[in-house]
């Protein structure tokens, strides 16, 4: 009932606000990244993907989840179409492949139809080791 009234009046329970604020601040604590750096990371991520495909920028969503010992980044990036190729893909880093850059992967395996939404998992490998349990001071 109270939840219903809150919804009617557009109020979010303060406990939910508390939880969301905590999640964000702990993510920032664990990654040793300031919240605005995380925003910049999301921005760059969208930018890279939109070099290959046209994305629905308004409905992109990146969240972080605390797994057992690490933080996982979950990106939900709706793809509008494959047509958009404003800039050629930059060369793939040498550590990935020695040959010519791979063409962008097809959004659907059989080539028919374009999936509306894709869920990608990106492990933050190049970031300071995100951990829940560690005693050593983190680089800042």
């Amino acid at each position: 009932m109270i939840e219903f009234l809150n919804r009617v009046f557009g109020r979010e329970p303060s406990s939910r606000t508390a939880k969301e604020r905590l999640k964000l601040v702990l993510l920032s604590d664990h990654l040793s990244l300031a919240p605005d750096v995380i925003e910049a990371l999301k921005h760059d991520l969208f930018e890279v993907i939109s070099r290959y495909v046209e994305i629905d920028a308004a409905n992109c969503d990146v969240t972080f989840e605390q797994r057992e010992k690490q933080v996982a980044m979950l990106a939900n990036i709706p793809i509008l179409g494959m047509q958009k190729r404003p800039t050629p893909p930059p060369p793939t880093p040498a550590s990935h492949t020695n040959g010519s850059p791979k063409p962008p992967r097809k959004a659907s395996a059989n080539g028919t139809g374009t999936p509306r939404r894709r869920r990608r998992k990106v492990q933050p490998q190049n970031m300071p080791q995100p951990q829940l349990a560690q005693g050593s001071p983190q680089p800042t």
């Binding site: 109270i2 939840e3 809150n6 329970p13 303060s14 406990s15 939910r16 508390a18 939880k19 604020r21 905590l22 999640k23 601040v25 702990l26 604590d29 605390q66 057992e68 951990q131 829940l132 349990a133 560690q134 005693g135």
Partner: protein
């Protein structure tokens, strides 16, 4: 210097080799979340179950475990007296006459945490583990020297956290500092079920969605705790108290007598509100 020959009636002092006791540090990072009350009540409840228990106050300079337990008048020596050879361990251990299997090793009140040598404190906890089933260490707030000393000899930790953003954040930090080698369990303290139902307080699930720790128990905010602390009588000794029962349930979980999921306190009924009061 703490390995003097000890004559003591505590089981284990002179008998055949026994299993080493468990050293459990009660910690939180943030101050004021109820570490000392938790330590006092779990220790009392464990001793009431028949285990030999020593409570060690590691909050040097801000000693409080003695007054919460109601043993303040009987403290003659403290942990630094023992570490510095001024008193023997047995001189310093205070026996709780209500629960004779419970001992207290008080902190020094007029000294500083930096006066305690970490290795010596760890050795002291080791000595106590040889003599008691449970060594409960009341950790000071903060993550400085006092914290480092308190966790040094403990291979298990109980993290006490209230359903508040600051407490959860600090608990998360402390879990990181405790490392991977210790068994860590969570007590959610001072839960107010009515507020949780209204969405005005983080629930136990909310807290643990963030901390991801095995839940040892949940303690509701209750006047019983304030009243019993006023009197220096741990609420765990009050058979009629619901919160006392919550502490006793935690003790049974620690010993392994209880293995089910911890009970989450619920709102009191009108009947309970009308007739459950005490002063």
């Amino acid at each position: 210097m703490i390995n003097q020959v000890i004559q003591d009636e505590v089981p284990g002092a002179g008998d055949v080799p026994r299993a080493r006791g468990r050293a459990i540090v009660v910690t939180s990072g943030k101050g004021g979340v109820g570490k000392t009350t938790t330590t006092a009540n779990i220790g009392t409840a464990l001793a009431a179950l028949g285990a030999s228990v020593v409570l060690v106050d590691a909050d040097v300079g801000l000693r409080n475990l003695d007054i919460v337990l109601g043993l303040e008048a009987r403290v003659r020596h403290h942990v630094l007296d023992v570490l510095e050879g001024i008193a023997t361990l047995d001189d310093a251990l205070v026996t709780d006459k209500r629960v004779p299997k419970l001992r207290l090793l008080a902190a020094a009140q007029t000294r500083e945490k930096d006066d305690v040598d970490t290795a010596a404190f760890r050795d002291l906890i080791g000595t106590l583990r040889d003599r008691f089933d449970y060594v409960l260490i009341d950790c000071p707030a903060g993550i400085e020297k006092g914290f480092v000393n308190a966790i040094a000899g403990a291979d298990e930790a109980i993290v006490v956290c209230t359903p508040e953003v600051a407490a959860v954040r600090d608990a998360d930090r402390v879990v990181g500092l405790l490392g991977d080698d210790r068994k860590i369990e969570l007590i959610v303290n001072r839960l107010r079920p009515a507020l949780v139902r209204k969405g005005k307080m983080l629930s136990v699930d909310d807290v643990n969605d963030i901390l991801h720790l095995p839940l040892l128990g949940v303690i509701a905010e209750a006047p019983d705790v304030i009243i019993s602390t006023n009197r220096g009588q741990p609420v765990a000794l009050d058979p009629a108290s619901e919160v006392g029962e919550s502490y006793r349930a935690i003790a049974r979980r620690i010993t392994g007598q209880d293995t089910g999921a911890p009970e989450i306190p619920r709102e009191k009924t009108l009947f309970g509100k009308l007739f459950g009061g005490r002063s």
